[in-house]
Subunit: 238 residues, 6 copies
């Protein structure tokens, strides 16, 4: 199946971390028999039973791994063909295993881009992912207010300066690439930074269109230091 | 093959018109034995022989139908996996056969969006496509300077007003949808308008990154009224 | 003593809530024998022993009630006379017991204003206070990204629209007051909204000057629902 | 009395110059028996008889020294507690006797800040004070139009560049401080410049709220060179 | 002579008022034997003896009528042919005897336009002319800070709203003309308003190029109420 | 006759090139007996028979040389006196035979300025003139989208950087002149660049006022390489 194969490209490692953090009690399960929640999109959210199998399969894999299904999957399933293209592209950019960007770097770019574009869904969800990947529970909050005086390394600052130049549609010059090279990024990293910023230029605007609302889980995810004693028993506090 | 199947989704009717207009003499063929042109991207453009078969197949189909290969295919083939996601998404949005938007409408949205984002490649190439689809050889030039006083219908103006709101990341409200409904667009059309604007928010930024240059063919395409006498023989003059 | 009397005007109820929430283990005590932390201001932070008694008294009262001393007290004590004027003014505006604004309303105005002015300290600290007063743990995060699509009441939205007009130095007209009156605010409330926005126009700029850093406590304060069982014993989990 | 003591802090030398310049015939006396003028504020202006004694005392001292009572005193007396905080703070910043800023420097900062914020009251009144302190009758008019090509010293220009960075909420960096140091300002001067700009960020917004109108006296004050011969007889030319 | 005839079109009534107001002692005569002042332009200012006769004739007529020669004549005489075109155009727009705009209206448009364009020369000189024509000595100062809350009539406000729309290159619509018609301006008045704003869009930029400095006389001109007793004798005090 | 003499100053070489390119069949003649076209201006366009002789003479000379009469002549003839001043000034700036700017340079400045000001008429007509003078059929299209990444020489780029600084009313400094000098422009060239940008700051605003529409001929003029064989017979294809 074509769609199946498309989805084989997806390696949603993004969601693996979430799974280990989830608290069963706090998660609203979204099953095929439930009516879809109505307040997460301006557009109708399809019932699972009405969605193509490949999309349901992906949703269930994501939910199973991450503990809950991020609303972007529900909201964009209103257009299955676009859903496939969107997540295929997303997967290429955000789950790439090569290059100089860490997962935390990628999320930081998304946070800065999405704040610039005033996108509630993406800021809230990707600042959560940044907190988890970076293990820095306050840095994304700083970047949200003003990345220019956040507690960034020189490398992170150059990365966000470049991302913001792309975000604003500045004309990119050799000077921009040199600023990246001074902190150790090569031209392929520059492409990665730009492609992420560019993809979220799209994603942020789709969220504005649909008035996409973030899952409540995202707001607090990754804020608390993990309590090792608690981890032996039930996971709590997230 | 997965990729093959992905590409079956592509119905590049975009390029069919171009084919009927092409003048053999004016087209620079890009064959697998030629060195890739160096001045169309800041990043290396792969030789065809080094590209995956599905990408070469798509390129050859596009070139065969349209008479020349738009540079965006060459430039983005630097990243084959992203290339596939990009054109799969593009195809869904621009070659969709349903909904209230004509092909000319879609191109007009791209022109207005891309001018806002100062994207040379997309303005030049999609204003060419708009001229062909709309058979209005001067309207895109007007929109490029100032869509607010271009010779647009009320419907086109409302469409571009909505697209520009999305382009600027304005917070979208019911008022925006009502303005569309007053000229006959429904909410699915609103999604189409937004998704196109959003996709080119991404595409324009990739073009800035790569300093993507438009094919010379695009600049004059669709400017001249077709000469019926000439059409009996060879197509020329474009 | 004059200064004493000035401070009698201060009724730092702001800090009372904090006290009931504090977790002893999480609080870094700031005693007169400790060296002042160096990374909270670009300017020297005085030792308590070098500060005037009235300022030390106020600091100790605030710390005693709130569980920790917000860094703004330490940073601004570099200039004792300005410190007195600043907190005297702050107290008048934020701890006022009359008028139509709730404490949560006041904090929401500060959050929106301070985000507009890109002030890290004030966004982080006052979004904490908003979470506590409003018992809405996610609303300030929404306002930080984009107050226009946050889950605000019509009354809150009109309040922030007015505050933002003042924040941007728009020329204020009767139309602005009418928009407030439609949701139940009178002209004295309009003064309160404006005076808070205006005061933080000042405060935000002082924070930029000093590169004032928020206490770590603020980032997570008020995010977690209170655990009723725990409340019977010691307050924890904040 | 606390309030009395607060006001002892005030040394309104600002107004001393005004007194020496006043022409009895031109001054509209504001006595406790007169009705307050209605066109200087959008909010009610209290009768003196209804104001607290400490505020009346201050007003009378200012009027006695300066020859007329600036409208800001009347307008802000609508809120006596805020009035006290406002003028206590103002006094600390503008009448400070130490540091590298002259009185003319302070007023120039206020003029540039207030023009940026489009504040009629503060531009008109503080350009008057600048003319008096600086004895340069045209410089403030130049700064009002465009401080970048006004006839400023390098020191004044660096001072206003820094003030404008604070005024715009730019992120302040070491580079900003270095630019000040190159013309002889130290970090305490930087604080002074910023605090004045920050205070008028507040003051300008209160003037917008109240639609505060400048006293007519301010418009021409300090424009004419003093004619010593004339001073012996009637005061003229002001 | 052609040039002579061109200048016959000039009816420099602008300068007539100045003449009646001038104080001999305050005027720096600019005679053909003097070296030209060096600080009024970034470009060389020609000696009168090196200028064409028609330009010298115009300068002398203007100086004779107005009491001093505005620096714009000296600065632009660097390019005699452009000088002629500039003042011929200026004369058509500013000295026109027909239509709904008073001379004070025209000057008010120039002040608002020139402030928007940050043009020192034109703001200072035309606010002087506005004071004289309008006999309102403070209105232009108000417009300079913020025309939106200046003490304007509804007619003046609509006039400046239209001028500012033209000044910003907004797309002009029927709505703009209707707003003018509501206060009594017809379409020919709209042309006059626009043409003045457009001409000073040019003039302001030439002043920026040349760093044109206003004559000192302009700063205080028209600020003082005329003293009727003095008027019987010599005109002074302006 | 004065007017006649004014027009002797005009050497409309601008239009000479157009003449050699015109295709008789494509030109809509505008004769004195025809009704004026109604869709080229928001204001009435006079009949030739109602216009002063000198204006008709100029129009006929321009039409005779260029093959058609650019609409700006028709639209501005609504105000004959302003028409004379406008074209006299235009002629000085655009047809000047001395200095470092080529005709193509001048047109490029106009294109960049007019796009900045969103002026349809001037962008379309002067990009046509640029194509003819420069023999570069695509450069103006690039400048229209984004002059920063157009295929400009360093000299052209510095020229447009300076023009844009003037266009935006930036404060012009010695640094600006040095940037020009580095690519070979002297101060008189700087004046020329500025004066052209300034003149079109005016012209663009008049076009906005009148909703001036470009002649259809301009859109395609100069896009096609001249076919020498065809030139022997009829001129076609433009």
């Amino acid at each position: 199946m074509a769609n199946n194969l498309v989805w084989k490209l997806c390696r949603p490692t993004v969601f693996r971390h979430l799974a280990s953090l989830r608290s069963g009690a706090e998660i609203r399960h979204f099953s095929s028999s439930d009516p879809p929640p109505e307040n997460i999109s301006r557009y109708p959210v399809p019932y699972k039973k009405d969605l193509p199998h490949d999309i349901v399969d992906l949703m269930e894999e994501v939910e199973s791994k991450g503990g809950f299904l991020p609303n972007v999957f529900k909201v964009l399933s209103h257009r299955p063909a676009e859903f496939r293209a969107f997540f295929s592209y997303y997967n290429e950019l955000m789950n790439k295993e090569t290059g100089g960007l860490t997962k935390a770097d990628r999320e930081l770019i998304v946070v800065a881009t999405s704040l610039h574009n005033k996108c509630l869904y993406c800021v809230v969800s990707h600042s959560a992912l940044h907190r988890i990947y970076s293990k820095k529970p306050t840095l994304s909050d700083q970047v949200i207010v003003n990345y220019e005086n956040a507690e960034l390394s020189a490398r992170e600052r150059a990365m966000l300066d470049f991302a913001m130049a792309v975000c604003r549609c500045d004309t990119i010059t050799e000077q921009h690439f040199q600023s990246l090279e001074e902190v150790g990024f090569d031209r392929e990293d520059a492409w990665d930074i730009s492609a992420i910023t560019a993809f979220f230029a799209m994603s942020n605007r789709l969220a504005h269109l649909t008035d996409m609302r973030p899952n409540l889980e995202f707001y607090n995810m990754g804020r608390m230091p993990r309590d090792k004693n608690k981890d032996k028993g039930n996971v709590k506090g997230e």
